[in-house]
């Protein structure tokens, strides 16, 4: 029985592209399916269109490029702006013309030519120990200030989230200014960059450092994990730079492939994910900020409240990513 299942999988896997004519959408996803499954399930339930997913963190762009016009993929989902920009500049996406998408997604959160669309926003926030750093920090720039010496924790500088933040610093302060800032931050680190965003919160709880930089939804998830609640409760959440440009935001997004075969179904899925219903689910399930204005936020997001977001064009930030990575090498951020 199970053996036959497996054989069936092999045979079907081999013939997918030839045999399947059913209503479907095929996705290459840089996002974990568990995070989008709730929305996709509702979509299939409502429309009867099956959604098939391959998830990987690397290599999907290369797979798409090699498969060229024979690719089975209709859509690509990503977790940051960098990859969306890469897809477009590699000529692997197509322009989508949808009034609904244009209405629901603000222009700063999508490609002006319709090659990619943002789905959710994630804020790069600061955390300060309630006991040891209360009220001491309110901007990214202050991470490099002298009173933070030996008190800051971050993850590896090469991680896309740190690269994104540094790229936005380049946009505002130029290469020289950003490098000065990054050097200052590097000198203020309490330890060699390590671990994930959650690990930084843990380190504050245990007194290894006083201040950290993380993506906001990790706080959201920690508050729903009994073991991690104490870590989350030991810190204040700070949305930085409220006095000036606002908090740095990155996006998760989607793009239609150039050779999409199920174009109509793919468009239906895109429009569905930008609808209020799916946007609300994103906020409830993953704790991310909906890109659509006016969608009701989850309770936790409401509790943190409204804040000023940095609305610099994401394409501009993406353009500085390569420079940001080189800068990480130059200041030896991870050593």
């Amino acid at each position: 029985m199970k053996l036959s299942n497996f054989i069936a999988t092999i045979v079907l896997g081999t013939m997918t592209h030839v045999a399947l004519a059913a209503e479907e959408v095929n996705i290459y996803s840089y996002r974990q399916p568990i995070l989008i499954k709730p929305m996709l399930d509702v979509f299939t339930g409502d429309t009867g269109i099956d959604v098939n997913v391959v998830h990987a963190k690397k290599g999907l762009l290369e797979r798409l490029r090699s498969e060229a016009r024979n690719t089975p993929a209709d859509l690509v989902f990503t977790v940051d702006i960098g990859r969306l920009a890469d897809l477009k500049s590699a000529g692997l996406t197509q322009s989508v013309d949808s009034e609904l998408l244009d209405t629901n997604i603000p222009v700063s959160q999508r490609d002006t030519q319709g090659h990619w669309y943002g789905l959710t926003q994630r804020a790069r926030i600061l955390l300060a120990s309630k006991d040891r750093a209360k009220g001491e920090i309110s901007s990214y720039e202050e991470l490099a200030s002298e009173n933070m010496q030996g008190r800051v924790c971050t993850r590896s500088g090469k991680h896309p989230y740190m690269v994104g933040l540094t790229a936005s610093m380049i946009s505002y302060h130029g290469i020289e200014g950003a490098e000065k800032w990054l050097t200052g931050l590097k000198n203020n680190l309490a330890r060699k960059p390590q671990g994930n965003d959650r690990a930084q919160v843990k380190a504050i709880k245990e007194g290894e450092c006083d201040v950290a930089v993380i993506n906001h939804y990790y706080m959201y998830k920690m508050l729903s994990d009994p073991k991690q609640v104490p870590w989350a409760e030991s810190v204040d959440v700070i949305f930085p730079n409220q006095g000036d440009r606002g908090t740095h935001m990155n996006i998760s997004g989607m793009a239609m492939t150039k050779y999409a075969k199920n174009r109509e179904n793919a468009l239906k899925l895109m429009e569905y994910l930008a609808s209020s219903k799916a946007q609300k689910l994103y906020s409830e399930v993953n704790g991310e900020y909906p890109v659509q204005q006016g969608v009701e936020w989850s309770e936790q997001l409401k509790m943190w409240g409204e804040f000023k977001r940095d609305d610099i064009s994401l394409s501009d930030v993406a353009a500085n990513r390569a420079e940001a990575i080189k800068m990480m090498d130059r200041v030896a951020y991870d050593d």
């Binding site: 199970k2 299942n5 497996f6 999988t9 092999i10 896997g13 081999t14 997918t16 592209h17 030839v18 974990q32 399916p33 568990i34 995070l35 098939n52 997913v53 391959v54 998830h55 990987a56 963190k57 690397k58 290599g59 999907l60 290369e62 797979r63 090699s66 498969e67 060229a68 016009r69 024979n70 690719t71 089975p72 960098g82 030996g150 590896s156 090469k158 896309p160 690269v163 309490a190 330890r191 060699k192 390590q194 671990g195 994930n196 965003d197 959650r198 843990k202 245990e206 007194g207 290894e208 994990d225 990513r321 390569a322 990575i325 080189k326 090498d329 130059r330 030896a332 991870d334 050593d335």
Partner: protein
């Protein structure tokens, strides 16, 4: 073999004529196929989007190379000492629990390096239970109040990888020690050499080919590891490769870094070759004489028990204990109905990969034996091993390129001639995944099988051929029974490695296809170590089955009288 006594068939007379050597042809074809992904990567390296070398050389490259060398040296010394010493003890000494240790020492092989790294970090980091209780006892508060070794460091990385990779050396060294005739060792003892000196002067050199293969395998695993070094923030060449590829979006530059790594592997492979070159030791009929193990006086054997227990406890019992603990805490979220299906997928993929890899490796290793002095076959065997040098994710890209090119070519032909689109035939199928596994792990099995074959005396081939047996018959009737152990070893290693393989599986798999590893990864990559624990535990358990099976077979083959040529 009984029919052989009845009538010795006369060797048919053959007219000398030109004919294609199917063995050589087959080997070359498979080696060429295995080389394809590597060529694809070299091709990429020729056309980078931006020349990244000036930047790399002036900033991070020297550091990458330095830490790669330190890591490899550390892991090499660690796996050598642990693997050889434990293998020697269980084959030559009698001590409490010795029989259990024979197989328990293999257990850490079932644990992926990144899993053990996660577990020890949980245990030893600042926020972990050990440091927390220390702080509680001594009243320290902050990290600056006291000193504690940092697990997330080069030392920690060497320790973690040494713990899970030493079984490669143990496995091969033990097999080699078991296959050794006790006569030479006895002779050395009779000549007045001490136990230890006899070990150093006689047994170790004879086992050298096997040990060198084991160390080389462990080092190639080290070179390839990404999970652990990423987690520990150790900047090796692999880390640099991913920086260039994913961070700077420069696949060509990444392929260039991969090429640099390739030179490391070629160095390792040559090391292995030169290690063996001047050494030819043959197994002879006497080797299966029951070994007499040494029994130390008094309580001393217990020290040996403790010595062997250390790698087992540190490399298996502690991390698995922590895994079980986490798996229980997060059981409700992790236990879903798909679980068994994913496990079955993993088992099937790994089994197919193991069988295919073994068949190809046997073909290549045996052909090389047939043409013992042919430089060409040496090259074929080395070329087929190159895939091991390439990190999984890069190899996957190397597989995609020729596969998709082939598919698109067939498709365009079909369109042109029949007006019909065939779409993708090989890309995005399980075939592509298995192909990648075979390319990736061929080196493991070729190394192991060549090492086993090299110990079978060539005079036996000659005798058998003189008696009129075909080359195929020599392989199936004479070599196979003798090198069974080596084949099983190779098969097991490929199986367990495929089970753990992640990056290539992720990139190449068909839609909606999950293995245990990809399932676990979903959680682990979202930093949910607890939720991934159950899956990791399953990977470890599945990996255990062949480990135990293999170990039993080796043990039994030591007791049961083997098939061997008659005197």
């Amino acid at each position: 073999m009984t029919e052989r006594g009845a009538a010795i068939p006369a060797a048919p007379l053959r007219k000398p004529r030109f004919r294609v050597d199917l063995w050589q042809l087959g080997s070359s074809v498979f080696a060429a196929l295995a080389l394809l992904p590597v060529l694809a990567i070299l091709w990429l390296a020729l056309f980078p989007e931006e020349n990244i070398w000036p930047h790399l050389i002036s900033t991070s490259l020297p550091g990458y190379i330095q830490s790669t060398l330190i890591l490899m040296l550390g892991v090499g010394v660690s796996v050598f000492l642990t693997g050889v010493s434990t293998a020697w003890l269980v084959t030559h000494y009698e001590f409490p629990l010795r029989r259990q240790f024979e197989w328990m020492l293999l257990l850490p092989l079932a644990i992926p390096a990144y899993v053990i790294a996660y577990m020890y970090t949980d245990l030893l980091e600042f926020a972990g239970p050990i440091q927390r209780s220390l702080r509680g006892v001594f009243g320290w508060e902050l990290a600056r109040d006291y000193w504690f070794p940092n697990i997330r460091s080069m030392g920690g990385g060497i320790l973690m990888m040494g713990l899970v990779l030493y079984p490669y050396v143990y496995l091969l060294a033990r097999a080699a020690f078991l296959e050794q005739s006790p006569n030479q060792f006895e002779a050395s003892r009779l000549l007045g050499n001490s136990q230890f000196k006899s070990f150093l002067k006689v047994s170790l050199p004879i086992a050298r080919p096997a040990i060198v293969v084991g160390v080389a395998l462990a080092l190639m695993e080290t070179l390839n590891d990404f999970g652990t070094i990423d987690f520990f923030a150790i900047k090796t060449l692999t880390a640099g490769l991913y920086d260039v590829w994913l961070g700077m979006g420069n696949l060509g530059g990444a392929a260039q870094v991969a090429t640099t790594m390739l030179t490391f592997v070629i160095l390792l492979l040559s090391l292995e070759y030169f290690g063996r070159r001047r050494q030819r030791f043959y197994q002879s009929g006497q080797r299966f004489k029951e070994k007499v193990r040494i029994r130390l006086p008094g309580k001393q054997p217990w020290w040996l028990t403790i010595f062997c227990a250390i790698p087992v406890i540190a490399g298996f019992i502690v991390p698995v204990g922590l895994l079980i603990n986490l798996a229980i805490i997060y059981f409700d979220v992790s236990w879903t109905s798909e679980f068994r299906y994913y496990a079955l997928n993993s088992l099937m993929l790994s089994s197919i990969a193991a069988v295919v890899t073994i068949l190809i490796a046997m073909l290549i290793a045996y052909t090389r034996r047939l043409h013992a002095h042919s430089r060409k076959m040496l090259i074929v065997s080395r070329v087929a091993s190159l895939g091991y040098a390439v990190p999984g994710a890069v190899l996957a890209v190397g597989v995609i390129i020729p596969f998709a090119a082939w598919d698109n070519w067939v498709d365009s032909l079909a369109r042109e001639w029949f007006g019909y689109s065939t779409g993708l035939i090989l890309s995005g199928t399980i075939f592509a995944v298995i192909f990648a596994y075979v390319v990736r792990f061929l080196a493991v099995s070729i190394g192991s099988i060549e090492s086993s074959l090299s110990k079978v005396s060539e005079s036996m081939d000659m005798a058998a051929r003189t008696l009129g047996y075909s080359r195929r018959q020599v392989l199936t009737r004479f070599h196979l029974p003798l090198i069974k152990g080596g084949i099983l070893t190779a098969g097991m290693v490929v199986f367990v490695d495929s089970m753990k393989e992640l990056p290539a599986t992720l990139i190449l798999r068909p839609f909606n296809f999950e293995t245990l590893a990809t399932h676990v990864y979903q959680f682990a990559s979202d930093e949910l170590i607890g939720e991934s624990a159950l899956g990791s535990l399953f990977i470890v358990l599945a990996g255990l089955v062949p480990v135990i099976f293999l170990s039993r077979t080796i043990s039994r083959s030591n007791l049961v009288r083997p098939t061997r040529p008659r005197d």
